[in-house]
Symmetry: C2
């Protein structure tokens, strides 16, 4: 790839970004788009949709950038929770790493690379005609002592990243503890989820739970709620809800439309009042729901799981940490998620079934990863027009048109790939959901790791080692050749990944700001819905969507910083965009759906360590290819110490991300002893983990219909 | 190797075994050997040394075999603890496995192997002239459908072993819980060991521990004992003990020897009463010890660790299982070992130091494993006389003598190897002791695994893949070729391993019965010691010595049963010998030094699973070499399911081997509530974890000198 080609791509994508920013600055000020761009403020009542038209609304203003810039971490914490803070710190962290690496890369390594002539001479007269390869390590002469500069850079950056990782882990660990100390009493702190409850025949789950905890935790046990299968009720509830919305709609339309004939497509028969008809239907439906609910609460379809609440956090922690039963696969305990975070469907209880579904999910992930290579190969076929013509001869005439062939070879492949990649996060989320997690946060956390490894495998390794699936698998069956193969293939792909950062990174971030899909969706449905009655949902941040992408770009940056330092400025621009845009989205768009209190950070940490070790492997390979065997050998201690460092961090910080220590729990419990609201809180605790599908339903008689418990519960289901 | 050669070896070793048995049957009846052969009965006072001579003492009697045979598991449990039961069940388990595999191997596989003619025809006329290779799978014709019989045998035996493993794990897990339920209150059930206690300057460890546990465990905390460095006191104590024994000796000798001259080698000067002199020295030494002890208890040389005792088992478990501090590397808790089991030296406390020493030990183990290959290579050189002559030309004349050359090539190599192997268990025990374990049982458990892996690597793999260290390491860097290399090399070594079972296995077991080294030692020191005053120690079973050996033979059996079924009868004889001999030793010789309540079983389980998977890898290799690729492919599910089975067992049974469940703990605590001896027990608990070096010392004034606390404590140190 020539510099000019990169510049073209750069120009196009910068143009796109500027366009997105400008459009956003205008569109966000239109009240009709408030639902798309500031749903959070709207829901909090800080903006209202009506507003007189004025000219200012059509002039793009950068005011929002300033607001996003000025947002402090404490503001972010109070408005969006610790998870948002962790996400922003990831971007902050990456910015710092690449600022450091960037100074070394641009001012030291880049001139060294250009001064070599292994591939070709640097052409000072016509900059844009240089190949991008001139800027990479491949251009340094083999055996040159200048490669020791790269060697030193690898050491420096590794040490810098490790130090930063240590301080960051410590900081977030401390933040997590502070967050816990300053938090109000929350139901999930007092509750555990018990699964695989052994129930003797003739006894109910509830009785068994009650007798067990009354016997073994008499002083701290408070209450329990048995989980029930409510799929059927959920279906009935949805039906009722549909009837209800249709009824609301009917009540708002003009009177004459409320009547229809009773038979033959409404043409003949008796005139019928539709409103009355629907009201009757709704009453019937509600009656059905109530019947099913009372049946369920009488003991039908019990799952052998229960939420068990305790009088103190420490009591819950004791029951959670100690193996309860002599059979470790019975009475399996885990911390309960927040009530809003519970994922009610797929509530599998048996130990064996959860274990098997985990195995199935691992298998499915592997299958998806392999199957995904098929579109990648097809896309690679598209860039080769001759082959396409051979496959589909009737396209011959069309393909001769220059524009068509340019679109097909230039844009279509990456578009198809991007579309396929869009499917991955939801697919992984689905896999995680059938794996037996009980909370949305756990599902997202697990999906986040899955998407990350999928991306690394299918973008990084599939690009670097083009070839069949089997040849890639064989590479990992032959571990001693990995570094040399990496050293050979990775630098060759540097120009592709530089372009990838610009096209995929920049565009995806600015389209995140512009929210294209929600915007289109809102434009499409606007003519069909009544804007006043329409309930809208504030979206939540999908961490498993955004986090792996950032982490993947960081991986690219860390692995390529000494091979092709030219990637760093583009990465810095990407991260700056992300810094502003995600802060803006946290302020305006996303409302937190759960609070894991920073449990996403260990994923970040692991990914960074993996990036570093991968970078070392590549360094070993490239130095031995470049005939600097001593440097190649001297790199070896680096991955060893990085992994030891990781091991230390896992021992030092990770336990605090799994559970809170006794010290904090007891201190917090003692604080609450003097709190006059505690008895009230404990009273509420008894019912707070009730399945929303079992909440009492009351549409037909409700005055404040939109705020009935049914609707809010239907959202969650 | 020819059948005749095997028969010769068999004859020699059978003769040795019979000789050992006969000698043992006679020698054990001589009172002078009681200390060697029945020290346990002697210590328990069931036998006494004096006894009139009669002829019966010279006739070998097999009465002891009957007694060992009739010993029930419950008797063994009550006399030698659950660890002995686990060891005997390992032998029992192996017997059952090889009885099953033996029936298949001898009656099905062996005829099939002999009927082939890939290597040579089976010679019915002169059995002893057949090569042993005729009996191996290598003799089956390539591509023959008879290999499917071997395939079926592999499946059958794997399923049989897995079923047996499951039932055994369940049985021992249940035994462990029963043992706990039926045990008396024991100090270690109520105590935890806390390490890495953070001590602010100006405060002592004791104060900090007291305030911490009074604050966070006010209702259950009982007391604590801070660990101190007592190396200096231990040295002084040893000196005092030496003086004391010399004094005792002097008091028993005739009067005139009690005097010596005061100068010039006792020739001139004033006559001095030696007894008085020693008594004075002893008093001084005791005074010194007391001074040091009082200094130590005033706070000198505190280690930042403490044994913390609780009023209930459940209280101790809570403090153990919950992370105490916000910094997970402080207040690190673990279950306390039994007081007699504590390993006082090397009491490292800091988290980082223990972690680093663990890394150092791993490194040392790797070095030992590699260095050990040097004697192996040298020994291999001995079997090649020409090379030896080339190295040491002056030996030329000696080596021409047939007898010398036979001894050098035939017996010396295995003798040297055996001697080197004798060093391994103590070396590994030493490594484990500096790794930061606080109990002898943990040290032995860790050494057991280390010795096992060392044996597998240095005997199995080093024999199978002769060649340089690097070539072996490269094998594991090239995982996809492992099965084919195994399939090629393992069957070739079958005759060696058959001979190894006979020579090393049979002889080691019968010499264990005969206790050669203790016997020689006792014979040597007898003329120099006074038999009456001489205190003797009842030896304890060294599990890290015997368990890996049995496990290694089981590994040989499992991997070779379908390659060379001829190994099975010899293994069965070995196991039968072990069955009788170890039961006899548990009755007569070994007294338990600790009680882990079956914690050795997981090592056995892991070793079995490894043997199975190794066997599958060999099967894959051999079937593809034999051109039955379908069978080779169809083996693949077997290791996968074996590993899944292992994973299930780990989840189902392993937690019970790590800690007792809340259910058992609470039930046991409630039982004790009505026990009138509990207050007394708790009073004693306060001091039971006192370092023996800090116990009060009183030689000079003691009447019952042999039973003074110093002596028993000096044993432990």
């Amino acid at each position: 790839m020539l510099v000019s080609a990169l510049l073209t791509s750069l120009a196009i994508n910068s143009g796109l970004c500027v366009l997105f920013f400008t459009l956003y600055s205008i569109l966000r000020k239109q009240p009709s788009n408030y639902e798309v761009y500031i749903p959070r403020l709207l829901a909090e009542g800080e903006s209202d949709k009506s507003g007189s038209f004025n000219l200012e609304r059509l002039i793009p203003s950068p005011y929002w950038v300033k607001r996003a810039w000025q947002l402090t971490e404490d503001d972010l914490l109070s408005s969006s929770g610790l998870d948002a803070v962790v996400f922003m710190r990831l971007i902050n962290f990456s910015l710092r790493v690449f600022m450091f690496a960037g100074v070394i890369g641009i001012f030291v390594l880049l001139p060294v690379n250009c001064s070599g002539n292994q591939l070709e001479y640097f052409d000072f007269t016509d900059l844009s005609n240089n190949s991008l390869d001139v800027f990479t390590i491949s251009n340094v002469n083999n055996g040159s002592s200048k490669l020791w500069i790269h060697f030193a850079a690898v050491y420096l950056v590794t040490i810098f990243v490790c130090c930063l990782l240590y301080y960051e882990f410590r900081y977030i660990s401390q933040r997590r503890l502070d967050y816990f100390q300053s938090s109000k009493p929350q139901p999930h702190q007092f509750t555990i989820l018990v699964r695989s409850i052994p129930v003797p025949s003739g006894s109910s789950v509830g009785e068994k739970v009650d007798s067990f905890f009354r016997e073994y935790h008499p002083s701290t046990y408070l209450s329990h709620i048995v989980v029930r299968r409510t799929n059927k009720i959920k279906k009935l509830l949805n039906d009722a809800k549909k009837l209800y919305t249709r009824l609301l709609h009917l009540q708002s339309v003009p009177n004459q439309q409320k009547y229809t004939r009773s038979c033959c497509f409404g043409l003949f028969g008796r005139k019928v009042n539709l409103v009355e008809q629907y009201e009757k239907k709704l009453e019937d439906a509600e009656e059905n729901v109530r019947l099913e609910q009372s049946e369920a609460s009488l003991g039908g379809d019990e799952v052998r799981s229960a939420f068990v609440s305790f009088k103190s956090r420490y009591g819950a922690a004791i029951a959670h940490h100690l193996q309860q039963s002599t059979n470790p696969t019975n009475w399996v305990t885990e911390q309960a998620p927040e009530p809003r975070d519970v994922y009610w469907p797929f509530f599998s209880s048996s130990f064996i079934r959860r274990w098997l579904s985990k195995l199935v999910v691992i298998f499915l992930c592997i299958v998806l990863t392999i199957v995904f290579l098929i579109p990648v190969v097809l896309v690679q076929g598209l860039t080769n027009l001759n082959q396409l013509e051979a496959w589909l001869p009737f396209l011959k005439n069309v393909l001769t048109i220059t524009f068509v062939s340019q679109v097909i070879t230039g844009y279509l492949p990456s578009l198809i790939l991007l579309l396929f990649l869009k499917i991955v996060p939801p697919a992984m989320e689905f896999f995680s959901s059938i794996q037996g997690y009980v909370s949305l946060s756990d599902i997202q956390k697990s999906a986040c790791s899955k998407v990350l490894w999928f991306t690394i495998w299918n973008i990084f390794f599939a690009t670097v080692f083009s070839g069949s699936v089997l040849s890639k698998v064989y590479l990992f069956l032959d571990p001693k050749n990995i570094p040399s193969k990496l050293g050979l293939s990775v630098p060759a792909q540097s120009s592709f990944f530089i372009a990838y950062v610009v096209t995929s990174g920049w565009t995806s971030t600015s389209s995140e700001l512009f929210r294209i899909i929600p915007l289109i969706w809102s434009l499409l449905k606007r003519p069909f819905t009544d804007s006043k009655d329409d309930e809208f949902e504030v979206p939540a941040m999908n961490y498993h969507n955004h986090m792996p992408r950032v982490l993947f770009f960081v991986l690219l940056g860390i692995t390529y910083f000494f091979l092709a330092p030219l990637i760093l400025p583009f990465l810095l621009v990407y991260l700056c965009l992300g810094f502003i845009i995600f802060r803006n989205q946290f302020i305006n768009v996303y409302a937190p759906r759960f609070e894991t209190a920073g449990k996403f950070w260990p994923i970040v940490h692991n990914s960074m360590i993996f990036s570093l070790v991968l970078m070392h492997a590549i360094a070993v390979g490239i130095f031995s290819i470049k005939n600097v065997n001593l440097a190649s050998t001297l790199i070896f201690p680096l991955p060893v110490f990085t992994l030891l460092f990781n091991e230390y961090c896992r021992k030092r910080f990770l336990p605090n991300f799994v559970a809170y220590p006794a010290e904090s729990l007891i201190r917090k419990d003692r604080q609450d002893e003097n709190d006059p609201t505690m008895p009230e809180f404990l009273d509420k605790l008894v019912t707070v983990y009730q399945d929303p599908a079992l909440m009492p339903i009351n549409y037909s008689g409700s005055n404040d219909r939109l705020r009935s418990p049914l609707l809010s519960s239907a959202h969650q289901a």
